[in-house]
């Protein structure tokens, strides 16, 4: 059991809740910029074409039009997190329907819209590919013939349309399969789904009096926005100042910039403040959905259920630009073994260019696809071996001290407890049943692992003149509650009430670098930086008190915002006193800092072959198990999730209510992924770019009985033992639901989403194979 603390571990009300329920939060479009010109984008209508000419002379004559920018006007900078392959505006060639071709700045909506109509684009069509399968064929049209010349931040393995190929290999695969009693080979596919954050993306940019770009927007990372604008426009990062508004959801979709580089290009061109705010259909077509995938898995297993070997090939369709795709495919590879001990493994992940709109980060970052496939196949194995699916998993489940794929040690594993608690809560049983003549019920389970420590973050703590505290951490709260959780960590470490601390608004000029609110990393990674900074502040307060009281710091203790001499409590200085002393008398204002980076231990080259992986060490593994009960209508094919128990090992829950919210919300998104969400295209054109045709789960879709279970397996490296929970709530959900549907029907569905059509087709196929052959 964790030791009780003052603030950490309690479900305090979120620090931003009051402003949000009263409607006073300022999201992007709530801050009026009445002096800004209206920016609009001309989007490509061709999936792959040479841009012969873009004629803007007629458009420029529209009254009120101030500037039109095309790709040829811009410097040759290319941007991207792993591979620098993407221009702000297409130059010479366009690679997807919805790619930005031109930007208009005008005095009014109407003038900008009219100008867009009058820009004439002359295309020369090029052959296009839309599926990864087609893009991988010999002789397929190449999306990026200059791929080899692009700047990459890692040793990328590339060929043809494969922008990144990651390999993890351990052991001796042939020996592992030879050792197996049974070998299973299966293929699974998953679809593109959109983050569908409710607030649309926007940016206001102006060139200030000193010539710097000032960018107001809603992003998950002011620092990545700053970096991408700098690399695309070839200007120093110090000349770019990014300020965040409140953010109405992100889920990965706003990790990389959205419209900020375009607005910056437009503002530079016309020298005036410009506002660019996407409509919902633009958001769907230009947004960066989860990668569709095809996953082939071959697994060897002993009769007793021990897994001996696993080979996986993941193919992720990244669309026209790499964006986060290399990281997503690489991370999918790292996760594809699953939280199980398997001695012989080889995983190959291919991130493939096609002429679809680009895909990007979405909660789970390549893991939901791999987990859906792996956890679906485990049920097929359990069925053949006549083992309970949970029993099969427990026989292989990793424990603390075991080794992850690549050779890192697991430092805290609460997986077994997740299985036990989710199963108990959901009433796990392996009897499928008919609940009515046309409805069948079944239960399914799926487990997952993920990481929560990656990359770097910094934090500052300053002690104000009155002893109150400023916390500057650079981590954007996109709704998941990091302002609250990081404030709790700082309050605990400093020994002050949360109300004494103000979490600073996010501004790239003042906030220390933070890679971004993503990767389930904020509590662990930024939390560590905040704890270090708060600890530094506490030490400085003690040192100042020691100097002022003329005692050794070792003779001091801190009680209720007061530093006092042990044994002589009357010799004391409050934090307020110390704040004033530091500002006016001695020492100078107290500024404390914490910097943290996940830099080891890394992967073990003696144990594993690792090629083309775009991250350094990743750490702080987190675990989860979902158990669901579904009811399937065998006449309509409709699936209803009746009950769900989702147990997650989060290290220590800094704020249990916030953790539950992440699990519940992740589950609902996973339910949409499992059952009905799909961003459809035809000829590269997005077909359902609206809430009318792209459905996300409503309150009627989520299970009536939804239990989020917190398992606390403290990590020795986490702040107060905490790990993370942002993404896991979604990762295992589709697999658990698919397993429950298969259990109810006695037939396996291998393709997401599990639409009524697919359910009925599976049932028909099953009846076809079961019906006795007809007499001739």
């Amino acid at each position: 059991m964790p030791t009780p603390l003052a603030v950490v571990g309690t479900s305090v009300v979120k620090v931003d809740a009051a402003e949000k329920v009263s409607g006073r939060s300022r999201y992007f479009d709530d801050v009026p910029h009445r002096d800004a010109l209206v920016g609009k984008v001309l989007w490509s209508r061709q999936p792959h074409a040479r841009l012969v000419n873009i004629e803007r002379s007629r458009a420029l004559r529209v009254p009120g039009v101030k500037a039109i920018v095309i790709g040829a006007d811009l410097p040759d900078g290319l941007m991207g997190p792993f591979i620098k392959d993407e221009p702000i505006l297409a130059k010479g060639v366009t690679r997807f329907v919805g790619e930005p071709l031109a930007l208009v700045a005008a005095c009014s909506d109407e003038a900008a819209a009219e100008a867009l109509q009058l820009i004439e684009v002359e295309y020369e069509e090029l052959p296009a590919v839309f599926t990864a399968e087609d893009a991988l064929r010999p002789g397929a049209p190449l999306l990026h013939p200059d791929l080899a010349s692009y700047v990459k931040i890692y040793e990328a393995v590339q060929e043809g349309n494969v922008c990144s190929h990651t390999t993890f290999a351990e052991g001796d695969l042939d020996a592992g399969f030879a050792e197996a009693d049974e070998v299973f080979e299966d293929t699974f596919t998953t679809q593109r789904v959109h983050q569908t954050y409710l607030e649309r993306s926007g940016a206001v940019v102006e060139v200030d009096a000193g010539g710097r770009l000032v960018v107001w927007s809603n992003t998950q990372s002011v620092h990545l926005t700053q970096i991408r604008i700098a690399e695309a426009l070839l200007i120093p990062q110090s000349k770019i100042h990014v300020i965040n508004s409140r953010v109405g959801g992100g889920f990965g979709g706003r990790m990389e910039p959205t419209v900020q580089p375009m607005a910056a290009a437009l503002a530079l061109k016309c020298g005036k403040k410009v506002k660019l705010y996407l409509s919902r259909d633009e958001e769907f077509t230009f947004g960066k959905p989860r990668h569709s995938s095809r996953i082939d898995i071959k697994t060897g297993v002993k009769r007793d259920g021990r897994l001996t070997a696993k080979q996986v090939r993941l193919i992720y369709n990244t669309g026209a630009y790499a964006d986060d795709g290399p990281g997503i495919a690489g991370f999918g590879a790292m996760m594809a073994r699953g939280p199980y001990n398997i001695p012989h493994v080889r995983i190959d992940a291919y991130c493939v260019y096609t002429n679809l709109p680009k895909s990007g980060a979405f909660r789970g970052f390549g893991n939901p696809q791999a987990t859906f496939a792996s956890e679906s196949q485990l049920d097929l194995i359990a069925e053949r071996l006549r083992l309970d699916p949970i029993e099969l998993r427990l026989r292989n489940a990793v424990q603390t001290g075991d080794t992850a794929l690549g050779g890192q040690r697991y430092t805290s594993v609460g997986l077994r407890r997740c299985f036990e608690q989710a199963a108990a809560r959901a009433g796990w049983r392996r009897v499928s049943a008919s609940s009515s003549p046309t409805k069948r019920r079944g239960m399914g389970v799926a487990a997952m692992h993920h990481i929560s420590g990656l990359l770097s973050a910094g934090a500052f703590v300053k002690i104000n003149e009155d002893g109150t505290v400023g916390l500057v951490a650079g981590a954007v709260d996109i709704g998941q509650g990091c302002e609250t959780v990081l404030t709790q960590i700082a309050a605990e470490e400093l020994g002050v009430p949360m109300s004494d601390i103000h979490y600073a608004a996010i501004d790239s000029d003042t906030a220390p670098f933070n890679w971004g609110t993503a990767g389930s990393r904020t509590t662990f990674t930024v939390g560590n930086a905040v704890r270090l900074a708060a600890g530094d502040a506490r030490r400085q307060l003690l040192a100042l008190a020691a100097k002022t009281l003329e005692v050794s710091p070792d003779d001091l203790e801190t009680v209720d915002r007061t530093v006092r001499v042990k044994g002589s409590p009357q010799r004391a200085l409050s934090y307020r006193d110390l704040g004033a002393i530091s500002h006016w008398v001695s020492g100078g204002p107290i500024l404390a800092k914490g910097s943290f980076i996940v830099d080891g231990p890394g992967f073990d080259p003696k144990r594993a072959v690792l090629r083309g992986f775009p991250f350094g060490p990743l750490t702080a593994y987190i675990f989860g198990v979902h158990v669901v009960e579904v009811e399937v209508d065998v006449e309509t094919g409709e699936v209803k999730v009746l009950k769900a128990a989702a147990a997650h090992d989060v290290g220590r829950a800094i704020n249990p209510t916030v953790v539950e919210g992440q699990i519940e919300g992740g589950f609902a998104q996973g339910l949409g992924y499992a059952l009905f969400e799909e961003l459809c295209t035809e000829g590269g054109q997005t077909l359902n770019p609206s809430f009318i045709d792209y459905k996300i789960p409503s309150i009627l879709d989520v299970p009536e009985e939804m239990t989020a279970i917190i398992v606390e397996e403290e990590d020795p490296h986490g702040p107060f033992g905490a790990k993370g929970v942002g993404e896991p709530g979604l990762v295992a959900t589709a697999a658990a639901i698919a397993n429950a549907v298969s259990h109810a029907l006695g037939v396996r569905l291998r393709d997401l989403p599990l639409t009524p059509e697919r359910v009925l087709a599976a049932l028909e196929a099953k009846q076809g194979t079961l019906s006795p052959p007809r007499a001739p």
């Binding site: 329920v21 009263s22 479009d29 409140r246 109405g248 889920f251 009627l700 989020a708």
Partner: protein, 167 residues
């Protein structure tokens, strides 16, 4: 074409000139600076723009402003009384029903429209009534709990009168 409109918003009377085809949401956000009302989907599917019109939940992105003339409009900014939050607002805070918060003004107003006519709603009634208000963050569990909690609190607040009237 501009028309002169007189609206009652959050208890105050507002007279202004607006284009005849101006949507209520644009008038509220753009002219009255009531930015608590949110626009997300633009097509009346998500409920983020919900406001109350004579107590009923409506989508302000689908209504012309002149259709609201002469009616009592309540936005999220009008829910607190003398600086004290409405029990629904308190319940959403206390039960952790708020994540990114973008859907929350519409969600709270939709819930208020329900509790005003049905102070003791069943779970099914709550779900049915909020089915048109989408939230991408929470999975709805804590939203349902918050509405139930607020209903109980409102009922408790009115109980003493009921007790006094009992024989």
């Amino acid at each position: 074409m501009l028309i002169s409109l007189t609206l009652r918003v959050n208890g105050a009377s507002e007279t202004l000139d607006a284009p005849a085809n101006e949507l209520l949401i644009d008038l509220l956000r753009g002219r009255l600076n009531l930015t608590g009302t949110k626009e997300a989907c633009e097509v009346g599917e998500c409920g983020s723009c919900t406001v109350l019109l004579d107590g009923a939940a409506v989508r302000s992105c689908l209504l012309f402003a002149f259709d609201a003339a002469g009616k009592e409009i309540t936005t999220i900014e009008g829910l607190a009384v003398d600086g004290r939050l409405h029990p629904l607002q308190e319940a959403f805070m206390e039960l952790g029903a708020v994540q990114c918060g973008f859907c929350i003004p519409g969600m709270i107003l939709a819930a208020k429209a329900l509790l005003d006519v049905q102070p003791r709603p069943t779970l099914a009634e709550i779900k049915q009534h909020l089915a048109g208000n989408l939230c991408r963050c929470t999975g709805y569990a804590k939203i349902v709990a918050a509405v139930q909690h607020a209903a109980r609190r409102l009922a408790a607040a009115t109980r003493p009168e009921a007790g006094a009237a009992a024989p």
